[in-house]
């Protein structure tokens, strides 16, 4: 078994990053010109890293599969970005952000990384404002904050419901500046097909031009993977259609450890599945739970009447409604963390109380918020607070101002007016905490190969807090990787340009070409989506919100069988030398079919419940998740050995020096 060196610097937690930065090797400006870096992916992490590395003087080549770097899925993040600025003077601090993140992650993340994240969080806001990111402001012209689940302070900076978009466009604009200067060479509509190792070091990648199918070789002194998460292994998720695990999986197959694959975040407020045609799920921001109350009917006959269309939810009396989160978790109510809210919804629906045709939906009701706000507004304006129609109208106005764009999006998709009838929501796969294992420097177990953003595993443990994904992506790209990569590249100043005419590149290119040819010549009978949907069903049913040993074992067997069938019977139309979306998808699904099995294996191995990972065998008598700190306070890092089932587990022990490990309770 390989040992993992997390390279955590010595010294007190609060000083580790500062000391580390002061002591690592640097590359002189003249030498940076001699060094090439490849970045795969242009989300918050990839775009910010590309821009910063180019600005430092490295020659950067950046790749994305979309038609423009601005399309990366970070753009879809809605709610906000956390930073320990303490502008509200409500007692926030670096330590508190660090503590909340560790606790929110259910004590399964690396202390030193999370502390560094909290330290650089404030720089992110300064940086983004300087770039012209239009954050929300108050009438005094200063930045506004709002509060998110699982914390006691207001530290979330936001730009209406489009924070991810504005942050990504900020990073994209920083990239544009460097592209204009010729320091970044941008490759749109290019897919990374494999990593090339020379003498055990990452020295380049093989790509496919998605427009004409050309296979290309790109050499570099270091390769940075910033390709996002793998939620699409479930087929249905809030991820973009193109989001995939392939870059991360290819490096895993070349020697990088893959950590905690089973740590997946299932977000409680998504628009439910409407039918078999569904291609993806849409998130409704967590902020809605500030004002919406979640319920299902108490009586099973009411549920039936609703499903048959004979009863409207608004006609159900207050005493016949089960506000199950408020009932089960009186202290936090509707604002329990995401994993808890999701499991509670599943529990009700499994009991038969789901309120749509598929039985997989619960209500998110704004009626009482509308009345509450309406009365306040009537009072402020000196109007009649007993006039029900007026109060409703005023209240709807307030709700519209707060959540208008989300309500509009809901109405477009579901064709129901959420101002008049409760929204229907159901949990959906949203984010993956697991990912490529990295050390403190964000380097994977392959020298010269780095992983940043959602693609790595490092900061969120077993559950991510709202508004922390954007923070991590930008922290890695702007402020961490650009320092730590220099430590490695300092040894490469005399290497010279990487020769791509080497046997290593030949072999990698041939393997890529062989796989493409195999797909094109397969003449199978099932489409790629057929397999992807089947895989998603297995994952959702057996590795979803609640897991047990029996089903996880079944999942491993089923996924393996599905994978074998895929290689025999998949039908990829068209040719290799054209714009061929089916071919690109086939490669991605092939990797999901391997990852899925490792996912199940990891979930099987971790017999405790923690964060988003809930093992039915490990719960309290009230049905709450129960951690097993004695046996599972470690990161599961998997080493590739051919078949996913044969992967070898390496454990990185998690040591908490600053924080006392406690049980999370929201009762």
């Amino acid at each position: 078994m390989a040992t993992l060196d997390s390279k955590i610097p010595q010294g007190p937690l609060a000083d580790k990053w500062t000391n580390h930065k002061s002591h690592i090797n640097l590359v002189s400006p003249a030498n940076k010109r001699l060094i090439d870096v490849i970045v795969v992916g242009t989300g918050l992490a990839g775009a910010s890293a590309s821009a910063t590395l180019a600005e430092l003087g490295y020659n950067v080549k950046t790749f994305c599969f979309q038609d423009s770097p601005r399309r990366a899925h970070s753009i879809a993040a809605q709610g906000g970005i956390n930073a320990a600025k303490n502008y509200q003077g409500d007692g926030d601090s670096t330590y508190r952000l660090f503590y909340d993140t560790i606790k929110g992650g259910d004590y399964r993340s690396r202390e030193s990384n999370v502390h560094r994240l909290a330290e650089v969080s404030t720089n992110i806001i300064d940086q983004c404002v300087a770039q012209g990111v239009p954050f929300a402001r108050d009438y005094g012209g200063l930045l506004d904050n709002r509060s998110f689940g699982g914390v006691l302070v207001s530290r979330t900076f936001y730009a209406k419901g489009q924070t991810g978009q504005q942050l990504l466009l900020g990073a994209y604009s920083a990239m544009n500046r460097q592209i204009g200067r010729g320091k970044i060479k941008m490759y749109n509509r290019h897919e990374m097909m494999d990593l090339v190792l020379v003498d055990g070091k990452a020295r380049g990648i093989i790509t496919r031009n998605l427009v004409d199918g050309k296979i290309e070789r790109h050499g570099a002194h270091a390769v940075v993977i910033a390709s996002g998460g793998y939620g699409n292994v479930f087929f249905l998720s809030t991820n973009a259609m193109g989001s995939n695990v392939s870059a991360g999986w290819k490096i895993h197959k070349k020697g990088a450890h893959f950590a905690n694959p089973c740590f997946t975040q299932i977000h409680p407020t998504c628009i439910p599945v409407s039918g078999d045609h569904q291609s993806k799920l849409t998130l409704m921001s967590e902020s809605l739970r500030n004002d919406g109350r979640i319920w299902v009917p108490k009586k099973i006959e009411d549920v039936k009447a609703i499903r048959d269309g004979k009863l409207k939810p608004t006609a159900i009396a207050e005493e016949d409604r089960d506000y199950y989160l408020e009932r089960r978790y009186p202290a936090f109510g509707n604002l329990v963390p995401r994993d808890v809210a999701s499991r509670a919804a599943k529990e009700r629906c499994d009991e038969g109380y789901g309120v749509n045709k598929t039985g997989e939906a619960v209500y998110l009701d704004f009626a009482s918020a509308i009345i509450r706000y309406g009365k306040e507004e009537a009072h402020v304006k000196g109007l009649d607070a007993n006039n029900a129609a007026l109060v409703k109208k005023l209240g709807q106005g307030v709700v519209r101002a707060k959540y208008g764009n989300l309500f509009q999006m809901y109405e477009k998709i579901v064709d129901q007016d959420p101002y008049e009838t409760p929204m229907m929501i159901y949990p959906a796969v949203h984010y993956t905490m697991g990912g490529v294992w990295v050390d403190y420097n964000l380097m994977t177990s392959i020298p010269g190969c780095y992983a940043i953003g959602e693609a790595n595993f490092s900061d969120h443990g077993a559950n991510r807090l709202g508004a922390s994904a954007l923070m991590q992506g930008l922290a890695d790209g702007y402020f961490v990787l650009p320092y730590t990569i220099g430590d490695y590249l300092a040894d490469d100043i005399r290497t010279g340009a990487i020769n791509t005419d080497s046997p290593e590149f030949d072999a990698a290119e041939k393997a890529v070409q062989d796989q493409i040819d195999a797909f094109i010549n397969n003449n199978g009978s099932n489409t790629v989506d057929y397999y992807h949907r089947k895989l998603g069903k297995i994952m959702w049913n057996k590795c979803g919100m609640s897991r047990n040993a029996k089903e996880l074992k079944e999942a491993m067997v089923e996924i393996k069988a599905l994978r074998e069938d895929f290689y025999k019977n998949v039908n990829v139309p068209g040719t290799a030398n054209e714009f061929n979306e089916q071919l690109a998808k086939a490669g991605r699904v092939a990797d999901f079919l391997e990852l899925g099995e490792l996912f199940a294996k990891d979930a099987l191995e971790r017999t405790e419940s923690c964060g988003g990972h809930f093992r039915e065998e490990s719960q309290t008598p009230e049905g709450e998740a129960m951690r097993d700190d004695e046996n599972f306070t470690f990161v599961s890092a998997w080493e590739y050995k051919g078949e996913p089932a044969d992967a070898v587990l390496c454990k990185e022990a998690l040591n908490y020096e600053e924080i006392e490990v406690k049980t999370r309770s929201y009762k």
């Binding site: 038609d67 544009n176 204009g180 045609h277 064709d415």
Partner: protein, 248 residues
Amino acid sequence: MNLTLKIWRQANADATGSIETYSIENISPDMSFLEMMDVHNEELIAKGIDPVAFDHDCREGICGMCSMYINGEAHGPDRLVTTCQLHMRKFKDGDTITIEPFRANAFPVVKDLAVDRSAFDRIQHAGGFVSVNTSGNTQDANAIPIDKHDADKAFDAATCIGCGACVASCKNASAMLFVSAKVSQYALLPQGKVEAVDRVQNMVKQMDEEGFGNCTNTGACEVECPKGISLENIARMNREYLSASLKG
């Protein structure tokens, strides 16, 4: 729902394309337009016909990748939505739907309904940024208060998703709404004002070089824009450019 689809098919940028007619049955009104296209593609694959290529990614109306010209309108008949958020309930059983790519010489067809919008990227390379280093050593984020109205207007301009519906809808294939949204965002913020003179001139120059048409103020772009970007931005860019040109 049963529908007749008339879809633009073009093998690649150099090929000549044509409209092909297909029929599709049993479409649920709850499907999104792209899900209907998915079903159609599955059927085409089963019949051994090359599936229709189209751009799409997030399918929640924010990435700006989807780009279909449906029944003579960018992103179809609904307002303030992208193609991926358009739902089949907007159509009737028995309808014939014509689907074409966003057309402009500056947006060459890649294949079928997918077009190359990298002209937009190149306009951004010319000046769509604030020249500040990403070192993190900038001043504190609250050092410069910004008038809330200006900040809100800058945000409204910044919500542009770069889909190109403005170009597709404009009878002149003009990119003014796109370019002016970016120019406006920065012109309204103190951080962007520093290099406003150069920015607007460089971006307009690049826009002209890309072969977009001239703006004739028809307002089609504003109506078809899925994010409702206002024509006020174009007026602002007209002002900015005029004053920038006179200054230097």
